[in-house]
């Protein structure tokens, strides 16, 4: 794309300004995580020295590694569950013609309009009656069936030429092997997108883990952060921010890695 120089300058200025505004809280949190209590109160931006006291203290005070591991297991579990359930559902909607398929699909995606909070109480009772409080399945299972994910994958599956399906049938591939060997590899881009989305939303989830965990056994890292804040009368913000930085590192890593994958997938393009 070619752009005139003044236009370029305007664009880059605007981009820089928005980047600075968006990134400021994270940078500030990063800075605070190295400050002592008095320094924070003075409202400084740069710490006097970069020492890791706050980081050591946050790992002392909380089983943070435990929480991180829990968060990772729960997020990865939800991600995998969503990928399996959504891709199978989307496959059925696209490749298996049945009466009322469209109706069922619209019923399915209409659940997108019901806010998650509205179904939280019934979900909680189900989990409680299954005796699944403080379990990984209690934390993950309610999120497997994702209407948005099914919609996303269905849209991608629909772009797969039907001749590919027919060629596989002639070659003797059963429906499941066609799904595994053709549909999934061809839809890698959408699967990565959905996976990243599922992982990140679960990683950042607060309310549900708060409800279904009553002890440290499967508690996730977001709850841990909240614990840091309320444990003392005067919150030690340096420690909290150190925790925050530790918690967002995996998120950022995933974002960078995922972005590369995504770009690769997108530029590959579909073959006519």
């Amino acid at each position: 794309m070619t752009m005139s120089v003044p236009k370029k300058i305007t664009f880059y200025t605007m981009l820089t300004v928005s980047a600075v505004i968006l990134f400021f809280p994270i940078v500030y949190a990063f800075m605070i995580s190295f400050m002592t209590g008095p320094e924070i109160l003075q409202g400084k931006f740069f710490p006097e020295s970069f020492h890791l006291d706050n980081y050591i203290r946050v790992f002392d005070r909380l089983p943070l590694l435990n929480y991180l591991l829990n968060s990772f297991i729960v997020s990865a579990g939800v991600m995998l569950g969503q990928l399996v359930v959504c891709s199978l559902a989307a496959y059925a909607f696209v490749f298996i013609p049945f009466r009322g398929s469209n109706f069922v699909f619209f019923l399915f995606i209409s659940t997108m309009m019901i806010p998650w909070e509205a179904t939280m109480i019934p979900n909680f009772f189900i989990i409680q009656n299954l005796n699944w409080l403080n379990t990984y399945q209690g934390l993950t299972l309610p999120f497997f069936a994702l209407a948005f994910g099914t919609f996303l994958l269905r849209q991608h599956f629909k772009t797969i030429p039907k001749e590919l399906h027919e060629a596989s049938q002639v070659a003797g591939l059963g429906p499941f092997r066609f799904f595994l060997k053709v549909v999934l590899p061809v839809s890698k881009t959408s699967l990565v997108t959905l996976g990243a989305y599922g992982f990140l939303t679960t990683w950042n989830m607060y309310l549900w883990p708060l409800l279904v965990t009553t002890n440290n056994s499967v508690r996730t890292v977001q709850i841990g952060l909240k614990q840091l804040q309320s444990q003392e009368v005067a919150t030690d913000w340096g420690v909290v921010m150190a925790g925050v930085i530790v918690v967002i590192i995996p998120t950022l890593l995933l974002l960078f890695l995922g972005q590369k994958q995504l770009q690769k997938g997108l530029t590959q393009g579909a073959l006519k």
Binding site: P161, E163, L164, E166, A167, Q169, V170, A171, G172, L173, R177, V182, P185, V186, K188, Q268, G269, A270, L271, K272
Partner: protein, 376 residues
């Protein structure tokens, strides 16, 4: 190699109107059978029914000796080439070729060998590691062919496989497909809308129109003796000239709408009464009138001229119809000229005006090279 037999096959998508009706044909083992017809006449539907991708709503399909109506595609022992090639975009050329073998649990070593042999046959050895998107249209086409060949299925179905290629490549692939089919002796069922492909490739051709068989026969048979005016105009380029005319067996002549009577040779009116008929004559039998009195000559006004280098194609008004003539060489004719045109009356066909059936065949025009050393 296997035969394919269609007995009273019909197909309806909406359970009301048949898009294919009453197809009866036996495709012999090792035959190159071409299904040709205008777009929308049901060629793909028929091919897909043979492949098992479309349900058969009437009649019996036999593959080999077995009734195949209810067999899934994979159990019909056939391979198929699609118009858009249907290559797996995420697999390399080699994996695309061996994909079906993998499914059929062919041992790895044999798979590799067969892929290698097929790739050699089609000149693909240099591209084995590439992805389909890194290939040109012609190369993709070859991969699609290779995939069909490597399966060693006795029957191969192709649905307009050459229509996405440019003219030159198309001509090349035509002979290539024909060569491979001969070499392997596969039973080939080939769908096309292009009459040139049909004429040059087929052992036998079936012409389909609105889901009904118009004619089945060898290309030359169909060219020389078209069963009805539809076939006459569909096969051959430019198409056969047609006109409504009046038959008069009494004087052994037909009278064109312009009032021009053409005397036909003795015996031409066997079984034809007085009344309306459709007259047909191929463009090459409207010849330059070069002082010969052998053939009837009439004068007509030229409306359009195309000089193609080796031949000149022009149209003129014959009564109310516009006819086309094809002359060898480069003729200096201008639109608007009135020129004499000789008509080879023995090459005229007559069709029944109502049913369209062929009533008078044109005379045979087969030539042969005299044997070496024979006195001329």
């Amino acid at each position: 190699m296997k035969k394919v037999e269609l007995i009273g096959i019909s197909k309806s998508y909406d359970r009301q109107k048949d898009v294919i009706s009453n197809i009866d044909v036996r495709i012999e083992p090792g035959e190159f059978f071409v299904l040709v017809g205008p777009s929308g006449c049901g060629k793909s539907t028929m091919l897909r029914m043979i492949a098992g991708l479309e349900e058969i709503t009437g009649g019996t399909l036999k593959i080999g000796e077995q009734t195949a109506n209810r067999l899934p595609p994979s159990r019909r022992d056939l391979s198929m080439v699609f118009q858009n090639y249907a290559l797996y975009p995420h697999l390399s050329v080699e994996d695309n070729i061996t994909f079906g073998l993998d499914v059929k649990k062919v041992p790895k070593a044999e798979r590799k060998k067969r892929a290698q042999d097929t790739a050699e046959m089609l000149g693909l050895t240099d591209y084995m590691k590439r992805k389909p998107r890194e290939l040109s249209g012609g190369q993709r086409q070859r991969v699609a062919l290779a995939r069909a060949i490597v399966s060693e299925a006795p029957i191969c179905l192709m649905d307009e496989p050459l229509s996405n290629l440019d003219a030159k490549l198309r001509g090349h692939m035509r002979s290539e497909i024909r060569r491979i089919q001969r070499q392997l002796g596969i039973t080939m069922i080939y769908v096309t809308h292009d009459q040139v492909e049909a004429m040059t490739m087929g052992d036998r051709i079936m012409i389909l129109h609105e889901g009904k068989i118009q004619q089945i026969g060898s290309p030359i048979e169909i060219y020389n003796h078209p069963a009805n005016p539809f076939v006459a105009t569909f096969i051959g380029s430019p198409p056969m000239n047609l006109a409504q005319a009046e038959a008069d067996p009494g004087t052994s002549s037909v009278i064109l709408p312009g009032g021009e009577p053409i005397r036909l040779p003795e015996g031409a009116f066997e079984g034809i009464g007085k009344g309306p008929v459709t007259v047909g004559i191929r463009p090459e039998f409207l010849m330059p009138a070069q002082g010969t009195s052998e053939h009837p000559v009439f004068r007509a006004e030229v409306t359009n001229v195309e000089v193609l280098g080796h031949e000149t194609v022009f149209s003129f008004l014959a009564g109310t119809e516009e006819w086309t003539a094809k002359w060898n060489g480069q003729w200096q004719i201008q639109p608007g000229d009135r020129i004499p045109i000789a008509l080879d009356e023995e090459s005229i066909c007559l069709f029944d005006a109502k049913s369209g059936t062929l009533m008078k065949k044109p005379a045979a025009r087969q030539l042969s090279v005299p044997a070496e050393g024979a006195a001329t």
